[in-house]
């Protein structure tokens, strides 16, 4: 399962070693691979009647998870923002 991450780390090290060279075509290759993989995901979903018939439910579930994720991260950002501003005040008062 971790093989894809291994490929990323290997790519990262190689990219760092080649940092003096400009790798121009990489972003194009990434885009094309993403197109291909999402096309394959579409194929699998389209051929699966269970998913197609449950698409509304899937959409609602996705929306609920998104709202939870977005609220959670917004609250965490608010707490960090307050913490940073309090520390800044202490710093000036000293």
């Amino acid at each position: 399962m971790f093989i894809a991450i291994g490929f990323m780390i290997f790519g990262g090290i190689l990219g760092f070693l080649l940092r003096k060279k400009e790798l121009r075509n990489i972003s194009k290759i990434i885009t094309i691979l993403i197109w291909l993989l999402l096309f394959i995901l579409g194929l699998e979903v389209g051929a699966n009647p269970q998913i197609i018939s449950g698409l509304t439910n899937i959409g609602v579930e996705a929306l609920i998870i998104t709202l939870a994720a977005v609220s959670g991260s917004a609250v965490a950002a608010l707490l960090l923002w307050k913490y940073i501003n309090n520390r800044r005040k202490d710093f000036y008062e000293e």
Binding site: F10, L18, I30, W35, G42, I65, A69, G72, S73, V75
Partner: protein, 200 residues
Amino acid sequence: MKSSIIIVSFFLLGLLFGHFEIISISAVDNDVSLYALCCLMFCVGLSLGNDFNTLKRFTRINSRFYLLPVATIVGTLLGCAIISFLLPGRSVMESMAVGSGFGYYSLSSIFITEYKGAELGTIALLSNILREIMALLLAPLFVKYFGKLAPISVGGATTMDTTLPIILKFSGKEFAVISVFHGFILDLSVPVLVTIFCSF
């Protein structure tokens, strides 16, 4: 925006081809997507490691802001874990795997499909597209009620590219480097966290 529409179009095209059996699913061997995924990850790593100028700029950030990616990850995962109890048939780990996309819908949906099947993969695709849309459209509201860091947190892994202009507009230009740093760390965390949560 244009590139997002093209990406979604490819998914929809695949959906039609699959549904009307223009390309039957057996023709696309499962190994093809794994090979393509490994190539993709290799290229992603290559482009991140190669971008040395961006890496160098991160040393100029005020050390307290290094906590922002941590806050985003913890907040998102907590939210997803709590809400999973309201979703029958969805485990805590599955919900957190979807949340771990942090708006990076292409990569997270591909990974989750590979590990957990097309249904959860589709949920991840929709959920993370919605996250990016919310980050784009609701940025002024997040600044108003949750402070200037909130649009960056909500933007997740997209804050180094697609949502960066919006963040600079509503949080301020001084958040540019923090936003790129945040997006960089979240980008890296997506495959790692998704893989971890899918392995349970």
